[in-house]
Symmetry: C2
Subunit: 219 residues, 2 copies
DNA sequence: TCAATAGTGTCTCTTAGACAATATTGA
DNA sequence: TCAATATTGTCTAAGAGACACTATTGA
């Protein structure tokens, strides 16, 4: 038996989410190399046992090399496996999702060889290579589940934000509108929300209180 | 570099749960071979790409070989990884949990070379090898989470069961008592529960209606 | 002033929790 | 009859949803 038949390929793929224009976006990369060259896929890469201390390390490293950014939140979703999902052979792929603050979208550069695109996470315009459409759906559902359970996706927001920003992020994730009153009632005693005394977002309407996430907040 | 340094070990471990004496139990095996020979651990084994069509297949195969039984429910929990968690080297371990109906506990035999034991899942008496104590805690939490969200662990019960059986299974999983009235109110319209007309469990008290799980029920 | 958005209040309905009451068996 | 467990009912409190109302700015 060849090495290929004895050892599976061990990969990590990442669904990198952000919120822009009230939409949940996910980063897709256009693959430069085989397999699936030219096709769009979630950013991903092969585990390097000599470098990585865990699969999460792999995800962090891959994300840094493909996007140039570090993310404030990274979480395992599930692991996909099988002989046919990658043309190179039997593969195991640990899927993670990551949250990118909206004010760092501009820092995402790509690695200069692969094109990148922010797509609607609920309905990406591109056909995904491999089984990445399934991976993306799974990641979205996991994220939705967490937000539906009252977790606050503060990592998606800029360092200062209004409650309306937060509500719109939740709406973008869940794909439906939320009632303002109900939303505020639910979060009003959350210790992760620190109102910034005297800091307001001004505009042609009543000023909105600015908040920041409590230090050490974890999604 | 050697093959060991280039390719991680890819494993599957399984937390096999059942309910006995109102307690949630998990199956541990006493390892016969190195590494950790003589120590107790969750049943697990190495992915065989030439045989398995997925990591779930690996779990099914390992469970069959180590216990002799097939299970009605198997579900992925999370994947653990790192260079130090297994003395053989860099390893990736996909953790699954499985539910065994109480009336099939007797069918679990072990593979004649390794001792097996049903332990309290919340507080197993044995010290676990590798990082399996963490794996077990993670699996228990996942199972609790699902039951707390009103999923009914019917796969743990015999083919016919009373609502009290079901409640006790939930209590064993959650590790706390539930209010009978609240519990029944919550499940009373669940389409998975089929009352068996005229079938009752009799004893020195009012007979209890017997139920069975709807065909095609999934946990 | 008005448009626009921030922020609050109120009513109803559903559900969870605690606990009591009733029902039906074997011994 | 009694002990034991099954099954149902009742009261209360908390929370969700819908929607109306008030507040405060820039233009």
């Amino acid at each position: 038996m060849t090495i290929k038949e004895l050892f599976p390929l061990v990969l990590t793929d990442i669904a990198l989410f952000t919120v822009e224009e009230r939409q949940l976006k996910v980063l897709l990369v256009q693959r430069k190399d085989a397999p699936a060259a030219g096709q769009w896929a979630l950013p991903g890469g092969i585990l390097k046992p000599d470098i990585d201390r865990s699969l999460e390390d792999t995800a962090t490293r891959v994300l840094r090399s493909k996007t140039g950014v570090a993310v404030p939140h990274l979480e395992q979703v599930a692991t996909f496996s099988g002989p046919d999902r990658d043309p190179r052979g039997w593969s195991v792929s640990a899927l993670y999702y990551a949250l990118l603050p909206r004010d760092r979208i501009g820092a995402v550069t790509g690695d200069k060889t692969e094109a990148i695109a922010w797509c609607d996470a609920h309905k990406p315009g591109h056909r995904c290579a491999f089984d990445h459409a399934l991976l993306l759906r799974t990641a979205v559902i996991r994220l939705q589940d967490k937000v539906a359970r009252s977790a606050l996706p503060l990592h998606l927001l800029a360092s200062q934000f209004t409650l309306t920003d937060l509500q719109q992020a939740c709406e973008a994730i869940l794909g439906r509108e939320l009632d303002k009153s109900v939303f505020r009632r639910r979060i009003k005693d959350d210790p992760a929300l620190i109102p910034l005394a005297g800091e307001f977002l001004r505009g042609p309407q009543r000023p909105a209180q600015l908040y920041q996430a409590r230090a050490g907040f974890t999604f």
